[in-house]
């Protein structure tokens, strides 16, 4: 096993897929010479030239729409959208076009496009540069939504997303880019729609995404000292959602907590809770709990932002309450 960063894992996936398929190309702002805000695409220009990594002006609606058109006509664009807060600028092309084109052509079209975007709070970037908007896209039929938490998952899932014939929103938490992790040797992919059990446990099922997977794992260490063993599951893709793995775990533990950084109301946690309330109703020993940010804009000042974000302590306290 090698150890690489989340950033390098994404880059490896892009390079491998661009080498494998000449129709894969990258579009985005500051992606070529600079290599992106977080240097994820650094070096790709030298390797593939400017026709495969195309620098875009500030025209998010324009180049996301262009990605849809290019994908319809037999290429596989990977659109780099920087901040997920820019997604609203391109919403028409994502929601009205990418998601629906296959239906509009009666199944004769596909839109094999990936939109890579980074998200999340924690660095005083302010309320229009820190949001977690994944749930908006879960609510739009025709799209797939991926949110990895480890370098190995990021690489395998991005490779699958690029090969997928449907449009995929690929959410990368910006605080994960520098994180190191073990990665399998050689070629591999991870199919969309397969959750991963990050820690086995018997007492409470904790479903967590992106940064919250790490908060849950930190919480598990503390809870373990009290002989409480939580099972931490990362769904990895929200559409398709691996209900079976999630529900198998809930049926085993009898308790479910969902943790995400996005604000709670309308978040993916509510959907998973509703599924569990139906599928695992007879197995539940406690009310289903959710942890998410409050329904307020992401604040700017560090103490405010820190107070806003869901923390390990919230998970520990909630799990204790669920077992009391």
């Amino acid at each position: 096993m090698r150890e690489i960063t989340f950033r390098e894992a994404i880059r490896e996936a892009l390079i491998e897929e661009m080498e494998r398929d000449p129709t894969v190309f990258i579009l985005g702002e500051s992606v070529a010479e600079r290599g992106g805000v977080y240097q994820v695409t650094k070096g790709i220009l030298d390797r593939f030239g400017k026709d495969r990594i195309i620098e875009m002006p500030i025209s998010e609606s324009g180049f996301v729409g262009a990605g849809v058109g290019a994908a319809l006509l037999g290429t596989r664009p990977v659109v780099d959208l920087m901040f997920d807060d820019f997604l609203p600028l391109a919403m028409d092309h994502i929601v009205n076009h990418a998601a629906k084109m296959r239906y509009m052509y009666g199944g004769k079209a596909s839109v094999p496009m990936v939109i890579r975007t980074f998200f999340g709070a924690g660095g005083s970037w302010g309320c229009s540069h820190s949001q977690s908007l994944e749930a908006w896209f879960v609510h739009c039929p025709g799209l797939k939504v991926v949110m990895p938490s480890t370098p190995a998952d990021a690489k395998g899932l991005l490779k699958s997303a690029i090969r997928d014939d449907d449009p995929v929103l690929f959410f990368e938490h910006r605080l994960l880019y520098a994180m190191q992790g073990e990665i399998p040797e050689g070629e591999y992919t991870i199919p969309l729609g397969q959750a991963d059990v990050k820690r086995k446990g018997r007492d409470v099922t904790v479903v967590a995404t992106a940064m919250m997977v790490y908060k849950a794992l930190e919480a598990s260490v503390e809870l373990s000292k009290e002989d409480i063993e939580i099972e931490v599951i990362d769904p990895r893709s929200l559409v398709p959602l691996d209900c079976e793995t999630l529900m198998d775990s809930v049926k085993k533990t009898g308790r479910l907590l969902i943790v995400h950084e996005a604000c709670k109301t309308g978040g993916i946690g509510g959907e998973i809770a509703a599924i569990a309330a139906k599928e695992a109703f007879g197995y539940l020993d406690a009310p289903i709990e959710r942890i998410g940010a409050p329904d307020i804009p992401v604040p700017f000042s560090p103490p405010l932002e820190n107070y806003y974000l869901p923390k390990k302590e919230d998970i520990v306290a909630t799990v204790r309450r669920m077992l009391s």
């Binding site: 195309i54 180049f63 262009a66 296959r102 509009m104 199944g107 449907d166």
Partner: protein, 341 residues
């Protein structure tokens, strides 16, 4: 529609047989739209018709001479584009009826249909959203190193959208083979173009992107043909996009059933400028068309339209459970959500 191989040559590379074929497409579009309006008023149709009557010369003139593998992205008034690009009137009519034999098997309205066989990109009913999609088609041709072109149609109203700006600028800086064709019919539903912008010609906007912009008589089918062909050749040579503004007028309301109050004198003036009438006069004058030939074409088109309506009426509707198909390429919709296992 590719050009005919007739020996008799006319000016600008169009042979007599081409001119007759173009005239036939204009008659077909007019007859198609009249039939749709008639059926709609008599018994209703799932699709609310947005007729292109009065604007037929733009679609016919711009698509005639395109290759089968060239693409078009029609505006909401795109019937002449769709028919000239080669879609069968029967399939198109079945789409308007919402039948399973239509272009999308009943999943989407036919006036924004897509069809890869005939090089037609689907539109979304979001006015002015087509520019970036057409730019993407041009980008795909560039990435795949082909010499195809994409024609992107839009009305005067759409040219006020932000995507017009983003799309045209992208096409220009990337030198993409996209031709932007404005069907300026003076009205965005009710708003006159003099109230929606302070410039006289939309083609002026091309200057802002460093691309050629031309304003032409959109009711002159041959003028449209030659202007578009010139832009197409330029695009195929890799010299980038062109904006062509075709001045025209819709002779029907924005859509059927829509009550409107455009001035009577204005309508009368533009009926005098009817593109079908003008092309007929031109062909009579050049002795390419006479009454016998004209009546023969009209009879053939009427017969073709009878077959189309019969096909649409006799075709079955899709089955309700087909709604779950054609959403994703793999997996099934189970309990209302995507399941891949």
């Amino acid at each position: 529609m590719q050009k005919k191989d007739s020996k008799k040559k006319s000016k600008g590379g169009l042979k007599d047989a081409d001119l007759i074929a173009m005239y036939r497409f204009m008659v077909l579009t007019r007859e198609f739209e009249m039939r749709v309006a008639q059926i709609y008023s008599q018994k209703g149709l799932p699709e609310l018709p947005h007729s292109c009557i009065g604007e037929e010369a733009i679609g016919v003139g711009s698509c005639y001479g395109l290759r089968k593998d060239d693409y078009v992205l029609p505006s909401l008034r795109g019937r002449s584009v769709i028919l000239t690009k080669g879609v069968s009137p029967s399939i198109l009519m079945a789409g308007i009826y919402g039948k399973v034999t239509g272009p999308s098997k009943g999943k989407w309205t036919a006036h924004h249909m897509g069809d890869f066989e005939n090089g037609i990109l689907a539109g979304s009913l979001i006015i002015g959203s087509q520019f970036p999609i057409a730019v993407g088609a041009g980008l795909a041709f560039k990435v795949k190193k082909t010499d195809q072109v994409c024609l992107c149609y839009f009305g005067d109203g759409a040219s006020n959208r932000g995507d017009f700006h983003e799309g045209l600028n992208l096409a220009a800086i990337l030198k993409l083979p996209v031709i932007f064709i404005c069907e300026n019919n003076l009205y965005a539903i009710d708003m006159h173009v003099e109230r929606s912008m302070l410039i006289k010609d939309i083609a002026l906007r091309a200057q802002g992107y460093g691309m050629p912009g031309k304003t032409i008589d959109g009711n002159d089918v041959l003028k449209v043909y030659h202007t578009v062909q010139e832009a197409v050749e330029r695009a195929r040579r890799g010299e980038g996009p062109t904006l062509i503004e075709c001045k025209t007028y819709r002779l029907r309301p924005h859509c059927e059933r829509y009550q409107e109050d455009r001035p009577k004198e204005e309508l009368e003036y533009w009926w005098g400028q009817c593109p079908l009438k003008r092309f007929k006069e031109c062909l009579f004058h050049r002795k390419i068309l006479d009454n016998t030939k004209k009546q023969q074409i009209e009879a053939e088109v009427k017969e073709e339209m009878n077959r189309a309506v019969k096909f649409a009426e006799e075709s079955p509707f899709p089955q309700p459970e087909e709604i779950f198909e054609d959403v994703y390429t793999h997996g099934v919709i189970k309990e209302g959500r995507l399941c891949v296992r």
